[in-house]
């Protein structure tokens, strides 16, 4: 009987070890950064579906929203939420253009600075030049399927909104497939990209309201 328990314990432990993430070595970090950079310099456009989950600990279910993200080098990004509501936001230079169920505006409630910062992070992660950023304390991890990079904000003002930013990179193509923004309360927003189309032509008009 005891022997049986040992076997079960061993199997469970091995399972846990294989699923665990491990920290990247210094050499691995250098190689990872280089690979992301090579891929991102070749990336001119990205069109991707996404699913967003808003997790609030007191809710029965996460709030699930579907949409599409479009990126055009060097810094045009459009997020379009399609289901269960329609809303789009375009980050264009210093402007944020919003289309809220047909109502168009280029203003938003004060935290637009935060939006800009978040968008900048995403743009940087796509363009691969965020790893030398002094704003964060960065840590690198890997599993069998992906790399996980954690960005801890040093800025105390941002820290009141977001504690940590987590990006997951596909191990095969070095592209971001998941973005997670964790709040100080541990509630989070998770965006999972799917069906990414890279370097398909996207007209500039897409980024107008």
């Amino acid at each position: 009987m005891i022997k049986y328990f040992y076997i079960v314990f061993l199997v469970v432990s091995i399972g846990a070890v294989t699923a665990q993430e491990t920290a990247l070595s210094k050499a691995e970090i250098v190689a990872f950064k280089e690979n992301v950079k090579v891929v991102s310099t070749k990336t001119k456009t990205i069109e991707s579906s996404f699913t967003q989950y808003k997790h609030l600990e007191f809710l029965s279910d996460d709030i699930k929203t579907l949409g599409k993200m479009m990126y055009k080098s060097p810094n045009l990004v459009k997020w379009t939420y399609t289901d269960p509501f329609k809303y789009s936001v375009i980050f264009k230079k210093d402007k944020i253009l919003i289309n809220n169920e047909g109502k168009k505006s280029d203003v938003n409630i004060g935290s637009s600075e935060l939006f800009k910062k978040l968008n900048q992070l995403i743009v940087n992660s796509i363009s691969g030049n965020m790893f030398n950023n002094n704003e964060f304390e960065i840590s690198y991890h890997k599993t069998d399927g992906y790399y996980r990079v954690n960005f801890l904000f040093k800025d105390k003002d941002i820290n009141t909104y977001i504690k940590q930013f987590v990006l997951k990179f596909n191990k095969k193509n070095y592209r971001v497939f998941e973005v997670k923004m964790i709040e100080p309360s541990d509630d989070y927003t998770q965006i999972i990209f799917d069906d990414q189309k890279v370097n398909q032509p996207i007209k500039d008009e897409v980024f107008t309201n």
Partner: protein, 212 residues
């Protein structure tokens, strides 16, 4: 002539002092002690609304998330569409606890206005002081501090149609519930009469398409 003018002024001032809410209503003897607003009373339900707010010519939106935690305890979170939290407050009995608020909203007037609005729609049990009726509605009047709440209940459907929050002489806030399904109001409009603020809430169902 002077007499006529004085008379007109007296009539005008008397009319303006009368609350318009009860103008075309007939007072009846209350037959209940409390009125129960059940729109946010389901403990199992996550009430997620798309919010559109018009404040002094500015338009902004987000998600209004409401959850009944237990009896006399609701939590309200307002986030941007991106998911960034703007406000996180709890209504426990009659008191509010602020868990989080962005600096832009952390102004006494804004916060108090929002708290009063949330109290108006979330508080379930209201003492009935007076009752009225007209052709379509039964109206329950309750008192809160120096203000009054009037609950307009459709006489046929028994559904709460609107709430008027008023002082002795003036209507201050009007809440309309539309597109009601059972105990769920799929659309709400909170319209302020004394300040330029309107909050429209539209119920957000679940995203029904799943990615492959």
């Amino acid at each position: 002539m002077r007499f006529l003018l004085i008379k007109a002024l007296i009539i005008a001032s008397l009319t303006s002092c009368t609350l318009s809410t009860t103008k075309h209503l007939t007072a009846i003897t209350p037959d209940v002690i409390n009125y129960h607003n059940g729109y946010f009373s389901d403990l199992e339900k996550d009430y997620i609304y798309k919010a559109n707010i018009e404040a002094y010519g500015h338009h902004f939106g987000g998600l209004m998330i409401i959850k009944k935690i237990k009896n006399n305890h609701h939590r309200v979170v307002f986030t941007t569409e991106f998911g960034s939290k703007m406000l996180d407050i709890e209504l426990i009995d009659h008191n509010f606890k602020t868990n989080f608020i962005v600096d832009e909203l952390n102004k006494k007037m804004i916060l108090n206005t929002l708290k009063n609005d949330f109290r108006l729609i979330l508080q379930e049990v209201h003492n009935v002081e007076k009752m009225y009726k007209n052709k379509n509605f039964i109206v329950y009047q309750s008192k809160t501090d120096k203000r009054y709440n009037f609950f307009f209940v459709n006489d046929c459907s028994r559904q709460l149609d609107s709430i008027v929050h008023a002082s002795k002489t003036k209507e201050k806030v009007m809440v309309s519930f539309k597109n009601v399904e059972g105990q769920l109001a799929k659309e709400l409009s909170i319209e302020h009469k004394n300040i330029k603020l309107t909050i429209d809430l539209k119920y957000v169902g679940k995203a029904d398409k799943t990615l492959p």
